[in-house]
Amino acid sequence: MRNESYETRGIRRFFMEIGGFLKNALGNFFSPEFLSVLVPLLLLWEFLPRMGIIPESLLPRLSTVAATFVDMLRHKQLLLHILYSLGRFFAAFGIAVALAVPIGLLMGWNRKIRAFILPLWQLLAPIPPPAWVPMTIIIFGIGTGMHIFLMVIGIFYPVLFNTYQGIKDTDPRYLASARVFGASEFTLLRKVYFWHAFGSIIMSLKTGVSMGLVMLVIGEAYGGRMGIGYLLGQAKDYFLIPDMMVCMAVTGFIGWFLIEVLKYIEIKLAIWKVG
């Protein structure tokens, strides 16, 4: 019945997916339109300091930053710092999503549950996540626990509210048509609400990634011995502008990469929208 000949499996499938991902993610960068903007910008970055139009002490050249990057990889354990940061980030992201998505689902689904807990989040969410830093340091001390908690605070609210909104806005026609066929509430949640809100959930995860990175840098800059934010803080203390730029670029790359991964997941799971 099903036409299997289009499906590839195993290692070839894996490489095909990687190829598709790279094409999706990098396609924007290598378009002629964007290259005509990017290349002049990079050239300006290199040549403005070189020609002394901008003092090199304020804006190091592109080549200096690249050299610093390599140097940091070799002598300052940059890779290890990145791994530490990523480890904390994923732990926090996992915890935050595991809490926020189910709570959002429940709040969107049931009015009574909403009445019980929604005002709580409405009260707590406006507190800017960085304002939690002093309290967190006192309670958790300086260390991984504090970093993770701060990131969880940052990621939790955007994911929670977007999920809740997506679920609440589910078209009642779809619910009605499933109910007539006899769907239980749990089936509705799994098969109707969730997929209807899928776009907003992915959207919320993207916001969560950026908020998480913000809190990552803030948290690690406040204290710790490892991580990108720590390196950044060190660079600040020693006034090493190239090092700062490397840290910024690395954080930016991580954020971009994670968001591209989420986009790819969305394309793969929401084929019906592409049609």
Binding site: S177, V180, G182, S184, G275
Partner: protein, 303 residues
């Protein structure tokens, strides 16, 4: 068999001054629809016929009155006194009265419904849409009596073919035309082999040519089901008098204001019918005249 006993439905709406106002959507409607019949609820838009259909399906509770499908009450009416209201609220504190259950899939009645805007799930392929409905319907059976995945898929495919959708099993509804989406909704409704199919202006959004074809297909499928072991009765909401007369055994003509049954017009012409049959044309003209009278004399009716 569907019995409706003095169904009324009130809504509270906000008027242009920002004040709450009562709106009577359906007022004191009673009827009986026998097995194996096609009955149309005909009326201008806004006469409460869609509301009535949703009440029949158990998607809205009536304010007053009671619907029984094969002797079982569909939804209890809404509370009317303060004490009853409090009791009702307490009973449905966590779960809406419309819910079938929290974890266990179980249809309340042996019905299927087709909506005006199809309401097929865009995130499922055509086959998944049909299979989803079939699995929900067979969930109430004992484990040993449930069909296997493979049987279900085959049967779903069979029903898709039956309504004239072949080769679209793995397509998504967004890749189909409006008429094909309506066929998919029809396949989904037929696949659960219900005793009753409720249709809410099913062909309104389809172009005129496809509509005639869909109507003929519907009659063919209804006749096939009737010849088999599980005859099906159809309740059709429409504002197209020609469609109502061509398809139905009986037409309930609604008048607006509060929606009430104005006339019940039996159509006894033998099937298969021709659209140009003088008998049908005559009934159609008569219904047209009624509707026209209602629309021109609307102010005399409204309370």
């Amino acid at each position: 068999m569907i019995e409706a006993r003095s169904i009324s439905k009130f809504f509270s709406v906000i008027n242009e001054k920002g004040l709450a106002e009562g709106l009577t959507s359906v007022l004191n409607v009673s009827f009986t629809i026998p097995d194996k019949a096609i009955v149309s609820l005909l009326g201008p838009s806004g006469c409460g016929k869609s509301t009535l259909l949703e009440i029949l399906a158990g998607l809205q509770a009536p304010t007053d009155g009671e619907i029984r499908i094969d002797g079982r009450v569909v939804l209890e009416p809404l509370p009317s006194t303060r004490k009853e209201t409090e009791e009702y609220k307490r009973r449905y504190r966590f779960i809406s009265p419309l819910a079938n259950g929290v974890f266990i899939d179980r249809p309340k009645h042996d019905i299927a419904m087709i909506f005006q805007d199809y309401a097929v799930f865009p995130w499922m392929t055509c086959l998944q849409n049909v299979v989803f409905a079939m699995r929900l319907r067979s969930a109430g059976k004992k484990r040993s009596e449930r069909p296997t995945r493979r049987e279900t898929a085959e049967k779903a495919s069979f029903y898709l073919n039956k309504v004239g959708l072949s080769g679209v099993d793995y397509k998504y509804p967004s890749q189909l035309s409006g008429g094909m989406r309506q066929r998919l909704a029809l396949a989904r409704a037929l696949s659960v082999e219900p005793r009753i199919i409720l249709m809410d202006e099913p062909f309104a959004a389809v172009d005129a040519l496809s509509r005639e074809k869909l109507q003929d297909d519907l009659l063919r499928l209804w006749a096939e089901a009737g010849a088999g072991t599980r005859p099906v009765s159809i309740v059709l909401v429409t504002h197209d008098a020609a469609e109502a007369v061509y398809l139905s055994d009986e037409v309930f003509v609604f008048s607006p204001g509060p929606g009430t049954i104005r006339n019940r017009v039996p159509v006894n012409t033998a099937r298969p019918r021709a659209r140009t049959d003088p008998e049908l044309v005559e009934i159609r003209e008569r219904i047209f005249a009624m509707l026209q009278y209602d629309i021109y004399q609307e102010s005399d009716y409204s309370i």
